[in-house]
């Protein structure tokens, strides 16, 4: 026989609606091709876009994809028109030679300080999209041209016509070495499998892929992985650190196979006669990205928004700010495209609607008479939705029981961007914050009645 438990549900408080108007405009900044994708989508949906990039001409944003565009019709069909559409679109204002110097504010009310050349311009906007290129770092110093990273190898691949060569030497036996410094980056598994399959099918190259853990949780990759194995590409999982030996003409890759049954009898493997070893580089976040993330108070994982929290693919913890390109997380270009489009759609949701109705009950509220301005809530808020008004805007606000003209002088929650999670309320050492729709008294009363 089952008994119904006593349950306290989150109170269903009738909403108190406040309407705010959001102007349909955004600032898009960065140096990654995904930026164009986002700007193009948003402009096509009627949003006024100010597009900032650091180059002389906007076409230069596509330079990392230049080879891919020349080599692949599908990629060209997608990307070339974007560049043209953006240049011809009157609702996109392109600022060349520009970068974001500083940014502050919130959804509907951002202030972006732009440096165009050496001129300063302040742009006021409703939402922000940014997309930067990660900076590749090689885990090992390249000893000779037979050892390359993916960036270099892709550039070889993208321009080849006919046979496949690296600096004059034919490529016939190649190994991809992933995860050397332990970073979980899917793009490398995806690239190794796709490039490996391409090489196998077109040049009958002997291909080996070494990793600690193969990551195939990307659309279609499970199948491609199976096809790759069936085609004769050999996949190994290694333990410890593999070692590359030998000279430009013939290298050996020695490692310990992780599939050995017993630790006492390690399976030592040596792949000999390799002419090319591709070692996965790691991407680190560029300076402008780090600065923006920090100024906007955006939750990050080592300088990137992803990859781990499924709540933040493209969108960020700050309402009205989305990211694409490597800023979300280094991705294989075509996967990055999907993320960029989803980010753009997310941003459209927040700037394309005209008038928004906010329920100002479903938020937290500070009692300024109890606030010690200790900054705990300011630091803990995951959505950067609390300001200390003493040091910020000096609005005139009538506090409880105070006379006209008194200033707030305490922490203050921005109701437009507050998500009502209650972290501030639970951390406040002065018990100065309550969730308007779910104050402490509800919980205390329930516990008193039911225990």
């Amino acid at each position: 026989m089952s008994v119904q438990q006593a349950v306290l549900r989150i109170p269903d408080v009738p909403p108190e609606i406040r309407e705010i108007s959001i102007k349909p405009e955004i600032v898009a900044a960065g140096d990654h091709p995904a930026l164009l994708v986002m700007a193009d989508y948003l402009a096509s949906m009627g949003i006024a876009v100010t597009l900032l990039h650091p180059f002389e001409k906007i076409d230069e944003i596509l330079s990392p994809m230049k080879n891919l565009i020349e080599a692949d019709e599908e990629v060209a069909k997608y990307y070339i028109p974007i560049g043209e559409r953006i240049s011809g679109n009157k609702s996109i204002k392109v600022l060349n030679n520009s970068r974001i110097d500083d940014v502050s504010g919130w959804w509907g009310d951002f202030s972006v300080n732009v440096l165009k050349g050496d001129k300063e311009v302040t742009v006021h906007t409703s939402g922000i999209a940014f997309a930067y290129r990660g900076i590749p770092e090689d885990p090992v110093a390249p000893v000779h041209e037979g050892i390359v990273d993916f960036t270099k190898f892709s550039s070889i691949l993208d321009v080849h016509k006919g046979s496949l060569e690296n600096a004059g030497e034919p490529i016939s036996k190649i190994a991809f070495l992933l995860d050397v410094d332990g970073r979980d980056e899917k793009w490398a598994s995806v690239a190794a499998i796709r490039i490996g399959l391409y090489l196998k099918r077109n040049f009958d190259t002997q291909v080996f892929v070494l990793c600690r853990d193969l990551k195939v949780s990307v659309d279609g990759m499970e199948r491609e992985y199976r096809v790759a194995r069936e085609s004769g590409i050999l996949f190994f999982k290694y333990k410890g650190l593999p070692v590359v030996e030998g000279n430009r003409q013939s290298m050996s890759l020695r490692f310990e196979d992780a599939s050995a049954v017993s630790n006492r009898d390690p399976l030592k493997v040596s792949l000999d006669g390799l002419d090319t070893v591709v070692i996965q580089e790691k991407f680190r976040p560029p300076e402008p990205q780090m600065k923006l993330m920090s100024r906007l108070g955006i939750a990050q994982e080592e300088g990137f928004v992803g990859p781990n929290n499924p709540q933040f693919i493209g969108r960020t913890s700050k309402k009205g700010v989305v990211v694409g390109g490597d800023t979300w997380f280094p991705e294989y270009p075509t996967d990055g495209l999907a993320t960029a489009l989803s980010s753009a759609q997310e941003l459209y949701k927040w700037v394309g609607g005209g008038t928004y109705r906010i329920d100002v009950q479903r938020v937290a509220e500070v009692d300024p008479s109890k606030c010690a301005t200790c900054l705990t809530c300011f630091r803990i808020c995951p959505h950067d939705s609390i300001r200390i008004e003493r040091y910020g805007e000096r609005n005139v606000y009538i506090t409880k029981g105070e006379k006209e003209g008194a200033t707030w002088e305490a922490a203050r929650v921005k109701v437009e961007t507050c998500n009502g999670c209650g972290l501030c309320a639970s951390e406040c050492p002065a018990k100065a914050i309550q969730l308007v729709y779910y104050p402490d008294t509800e919980v205390i009363e329930f516990l008193g009645k039911n225990l």
Partner: protein, 222 residues
């Protein structure tokens, strides 16, 4: 600000052993900010004491309150009524507050729930470090804004002891060598020649060593 830390619970329970009804008084200033004695902490400590005394079969009644500050006589009035109902007050303000409690409510014992540790600031949220020793004779203008009294383990005034390793103090390797920090800062300011000026032996009489201190401002007196 003043940084304090809660006393071990055993000490607190011992202080309260003979009492059956007390006031637990928090403070809305420094100890709220360093998360040792604000309203939230009052609730936590009160629960902890109640639970311990219930377990021991000797329940205690605790009235909880938090004063605006425990270092102003006027704010003591916030507790006047309730102090009539209790046997004693456990104050989780800094040592100043405990003393003002004792002085204001002369006939009731005032117990300290905290150890007042130092004057400092948060290095990061939740990590508090000492910055000022209240020596009464500040030399920060000579040392690039870094205090050799509070931050050097030996309170040396004229340069490093020479025992530091990789910028860390030889006495406490978790501490940065204050004189390394001073050197770096003076170098960044282009004022390394400050190091050539000798700071004379410190007048410790202006600090705690000179006895209890007092400042009288005739211009402010009402």
């Amino acid at each position: 600000m003043i940084i304090a830390e809660q006393k071990p619970i055993e000490e607190i329970l011992e202080m309260l052993a003979l009492h059956k009804k007390i006031l637990l008084a928090g403070c809305g200033a420094c100890v709220t900010v360093c998360q040792a004695g604000g309203e939230k902490e009052v609730g936590v400590l009160a629960s902890q004491i109640r639970m311990a005394r219930k377990e021991a079969g000797n329940p205690i009644e605790i009235i909880e309150t938090t004063l605006t500050r425990q270092c102003e006589p006027e704010f003591m009035e916030e507790a006047r009524d309730v102090m009539n109902e209790v046997e004693a007050v456990l104050s989780i303000a800094c040592g100043i507050g405990v003393q003002l409690m004792a002085q204001t409510f002369y006939d009731k014992p005032a117990y300290p729930g905290l150890n007042t540790k130092f004057l400092g600031l948060p290095e990061e949220h939740g990590v508090f470090t000492e910055r000022c020793a209240a020596c009464g004779d500040c030399v920060l203008h000579l040392t690039g804004g870094i205090c050799p009294v509070a931050r050097c383990s030996k309170s040396l005034l004229n340069g490093p002891c020479g025992g530091s390793q990789n910028g860390k103090c030889e006495i406490d390797p978790d501490l940065d060598c204050a004189w390394q920090l001073i050197y770096d800062r003076l170098k960044a300011l282009g004022k390394l020649d400050n190091l050539e000026k000798i700071i004379p032996p410190k007048k410790w009489s202006t600090s705690r060593d000179g006895g209890p201190r007092k400042i009288v401002r005739e211009d402010l007196r009402i």
